[in-house]
Amino acid sequence: MPTAHVLLPLLLLVACKPPPDERHHMPQADAARGKAAIERVGCASCHAIPGVRWPQGTIGPSLDGFAERALIAGRLPNRPDVLAAFVRDAPSLAPGTNMPAMPLNEEESRDVAAYLYTLGDR
């Protein structure tokens, strides 16, 4: 509903860090939409994600400072294209991972990756 989104920019002001560096540049993705998708599918049931107040799951690793990490899931290079594919279907990229496939389409998974790249080091 439009009314609810009035507050969203406010939230982002709080959540946003300085612009992400070049490596993580994602031209056609929107971090705000990404955050909405994260809330919709419930990524936070397993991960503590800065900017998402609830839930803050403990089963998966915290995603705080995710933009600064070298690897995804400890083995894949932390690149936009890889991340977008990973959040959508982790098992196919990293067999044996504890992260399941999530109900996101391609565009949404790029948005989600864009949001994760706003999470710089503190």
């Binding site: 009314t3 609810a4 009035v6 507050l7 107040r53 609830w54």
Partner: protein, 845 residues
């Protein structure tokens, strides 16, 4: 002219007297009414001091509970905030409601009564100054300790309504719930003490000539208020007792698996809880009626209609409790009766609103802070009243109930109906106790911030509720569109907070307490509280001939100050006030009043200690504290009811009144009657609980002890009452030895004990215990009540015997004796009724 007591009203024509008053009278008054200084200041009992402290303490709790509200609003500003963890939030909203209702609203209006009533009625003080002091200290010490439970995470978390089974031991095993039940326990005691004081004060200590139709509206409102406390509070006293018994001793009053019922609590709670709203609103409405007239500088339009409205509200508000239970599945017909009564109770509110508007139209109110608060309160209250009519309609309530719509409604009613009038009263009456008036400039800021904040905070809440947001939630999910209205409400809440902060600054800058050189009648009120006063209240007690004596007799202040009316001196050398008749306020006798004493203070500390130590399960210290409290009370009573050297005294203009009276006309007798009504109401509610549980779960019922047991029980009670009455008769006989009457009272107490023991034993023999079933629980509740009464009887008998031994029981009549006999007779009657009811209904099964 007709008379109520045989007093000749023509005697009033002797006032104002013309002869000059003898030298030194005023100094003597000042000496007698002098307030102790230094640490001894804590032992003061004058209503000026106690009243002001009382108001201050209530305001402190308003701020504390308000801070809780601000934290909660911060938590709810956005979805899923983590400012307060869920269990802390649950404690916060429980404490916000509880503190606002029990520690702010009721004490605040009671405090204003203590502060203003003696002045408005031109009495020297309320009839039981030490009782006021006790009520205040018990409330302050107990209330602060209760509030501190929050800092230890031990605060109650079951909501201010404490519905079992959530609050039963199975679902609330911690002591949090006990804090509520016992914490509220002593606040109830304090409220009842204040109510007794106010009933007797309004009916018996009015200035001569102040007939019922000339009483200030505030006195009418306080009278209805106090009577409502007396009828309504017993229900919650019994309720808290039952719930605590269930928690501590496993007596299943509210447990359906053993013949109890969860809804019984709701009936008991709301039979108190809804009148409670009017208990808060009526005194505030009385204040509004007083201030509207004074600020518009014209007599109140529709005085009689307003009295009608107050009385009607007092009655009808006892017929609306179940509108808090429309969604519990009560029978449709039953629910509809409550709906109709809920409609009816809004008519008196309408009468008052239009009377106030009419008074404004007749007069010329100016743009000052109290007027702003009055008008702002009026508009706010009307909105709350209208949403009240909405939820009085059953089908609409099914949607609105327990949603934020109700949160909005109740805050409109309580803030518009009580808080805004209270702030108006702060501005209007502050000059009565302060050397400086409060600031008009700051005051207008305070008003506009609070008024705008109120609308911003609570108007959107109606919508939030209709959007589906339930009450008492510590958070809500995002994406449900509740973010915007919640954020607006939070902003409004902070505006209110800012307004209150400004008010505190205003108080700090301008309020300087004084009993002598006050700023005075800044707004030009016409009632007696604006007479020049000292610690002794007014120098002399005027004859009242109209509702606004100061407007109708410009010389009145001077005459009163020059001692040209009743009691211009201390007639006996003690603190004293005039006791007058209830309808026409004709002088009857002179009451000797007790002065400063530390015993009420100690009694209050130990009373609070008793309840709080009980809560933390420190049983031995708790019992010790309880015993000390009782001893302190007895010690303070010891000095009262003494023979007076001068049997009669000149109270002015040669009018002679007795200085010691006994029998049904005395203030002590009236107070005991009121107390017995309170105890009787507790008993009535217990009877209701008993019948209710039988009606819900008759299958759990078993046979009572055989009927022949009734013989020794009723016989014992009859003997107790008989010996007590005999003792009273024999006291009047000169020839009886010193000891006889007291011995008879001791024998009476022995019989009361005997009857109670047999009653208890006969139930024991049936094998029915308190934990067996709802029947067992209620029967044992009757026994517990009877046991308490019997213990008090024993205590009173011993006390009387001690007084007798020291030769301070006056003959032929004595008040201590009369009151003890009344209490014994009542105990016997209640014991008989309980024994009959539990054995004959439903009888053998």
């Amino acid at each position: 002219m007709t008379s109520e007591t045989g007093f000749d009203p023509k005697l009033y024509d002797r006032f104002p007297t013309r002869e000059p008053r003898p030298e030194g009278e005023l100094e003597e008054l000042e000496r007698i009414w002098h307030a102790p200084t230094g640490w001894a200041r804590l032992t003061v009992v004058n209503n000026n001091f106690i009243g002001t402290w009382y108001v201050g303490a209530a305001f402190l709790f308003f701020i504390l509970a308000g801070v809780l509200a601000l934290v909660m609003r911060t938590q709810l500003a956005l979805p899923l905030q983590g400012i307060l963890p869920q269990e802390t939030y649950n404690q916060f909203f429980t404490m916000h409601g509880t503190v606002m209702m029990f520690l702010f609203a009721v004490p605040a209006v009671e405090a204003l009564g203590v502060l203003l009533l003696p002045q408005m009625l031109a009495a020297r003080d309320l009839p039981f100054p030490r009782l006021s002091a006790y009520a205040f200290w018990a409330y302050l010490v107990g209330g602060l300790s209760f509030f501190c439970s929050l800092f230890f995470g031990l605060a109650p978390d079951g909501g201010w309504f404490m519905y079992p089974p959530l609050t039963s031991i199975a679902y609330s095993p911690g002591i949090n719930a006990d804090f509520w039940l016992l914490g509220i326990g002593f606040i109830e005691i304090s409220a009842i003490a204040g109510a007794i004081e106010i009933v007797v004060g309004v009916l018996r200590t009015r200035a001569p000539g102040m007939t019922l139709d000339k009483m200030p509206i505030f006195a009418w409102a306080m009278l209805v208020f106090a009577v409502m406390i007396i009828i309504g509070f017993p229900s919650i006293i019994l309720g808290t007792l039952l719930l605590e018994l269930e928690r501590a001793l496993n007596w299943p009053f509210f447990d359906p698996t053993r013949g109890g019922d969860a809804l019984l609590w709701q009936h008991l709670f709301w039979f108190f809880g809804h009148p409670e709203v009017y208990i808060i609103f009526l005194p505030a409405a009385g204040l509004v009626s007083m201030m509207v007239a004074a600020l518009a500088r014209t007599p109140l339009v529709g005085y009689q209609l307003i009295v009608l409205a107050l009385l009607a509200t007092g009655f009808i508000s006892f017929g609306v409790w179940s509108h808090h239970m429309f969604v519990t599945g009560m029978p449709t017909l039953s629910v509809s009766f409550f709906s109709a009564a809920s409609m009816a109770v809004s008519v008196p509110a309408g009468i008052q609103v239009f009377s106030w508007i009419a008074t404004v139209a007749v007069g010329k109110p100016r743009n000052n802070t109290p007027t702003l608060f009055l008008l702002g309160g009026l508009v706010t209250f009307v909105i709350g009243g209208l949403t009240g009519v909405m939820v009085a309609l059953v089908p609409f309530d099914w949607q609105a109930h327990d949603s934020y719509f109700i949160v909005a409604h109740l805050h409109y009613v309580l803030i518009g109906g009580m808080v805004f009038p209270l702030f108006a009263a702060f501005y209007y009456w502050a000059p009565m106790m302060s050397r400086r008036a409060l600031s008009e400039r700051l005051g207008k800021w305070v008003f506009w911030l609070m008024f705008a904040g109120m609308q911003v905070a609570f108007l959107p809440m109606h919508l939030t509720g209709l959007m589906g947001m339930p009450r008492r939630v510590y958070t809500y999910l995002p994406g449900r569109d509740w973010e915007v209205t919640n954020m607006i409400s939070t902003i409004g809440a902070y505006m209110i907070g800012l307004g209150v902060l400004l008010f505190v600054i205003d108080l700090a800058r301008n309020f300087r307490f004084t009993a002598g050189d006050e700023a005075g009648n800044v707004y030009g009120g016409g009632t007696l509280e604006w007479l020049p006063t000292g610690l002794y209240s007014t120098r002399s007690i005027p004859v009242v001939k109209s509702r606004e004596p100061l407007w109708d007799d410009p010389k009145l202040s001077d005459d009163v100050e020059a001692g040209r009316y009743f009691l211009p001196n201390s007639a006996t050398g003690h603190r004293e006030t005039l006791i007058t008749s209830p309808i026409r306020a004709e002088p009857e006798y002179l009451q000797i009043m007790p002065g400063p004493s530390a015993w009420p203070l100690f009694a209050a500390i130990f009373t609070a200690g008793f309840f709080l130590l009980l809560t933390v399960q420190a049983y031995n210290p708790s019992i010790a504290s309880g015993v000390l409290a009782v001893l302190c009370v007895l010690r303070w009573l010891w000095e009262t009811d003494r023979p007076v050297a001068k049997a009669h005294a000149d109270v002015g203009a040669g009018i002679i009144l007795p200085t010691y009276a006994t029998g049904p006309r005395t203030h002590g007798w009236w107070a005991m009657t009121v107390l017995l009504v309170v105890i009787g109401m507790i008993f009535v509610m217990a009877v209701f609980s008993y019948l209710y549980l039988y009606g819900v779960h008759p299958s759990f019922w078993t046979s009572p002890p055989d009927a022949p047991w009734l013989l020794p029980i009723i016989g014992g009670h009859a003997a107790a009452a008989g010996f007590a009455l005999l003792a009273r008769r024999l006291l009047a006989r000169e020839r009886t030895t010193l000891w006889t009457p007291a011995t008879l009272v001791l024998i009476a107490a022995g019989f009361a004990l005997f009857a109670f023991a047999i009653d208890w034993w006969s139930w024991r023999a049936t094998g029915l215990t308190g934990a067996t079933s709802g029947q067992g629980a209620t029967v044992h509740a009757f026994l517990a009540l009877q046991g308490i009464l019997t213990a008090i009887v024993a205590l009173m008998a011993l006390y009387l015997a001690a007084r007798n031994a020291r030769g301070i029981v006056t003959r032929p009549r004595n008040n201590s004796m009369d009151l003890t006999v009344m209490f014994i007779a009542y105990t016997a009657a209640q014991g008989t009724l309980a024994a009959l009811l539990t054995r004959l209904f439903p009888g053998a099964i």
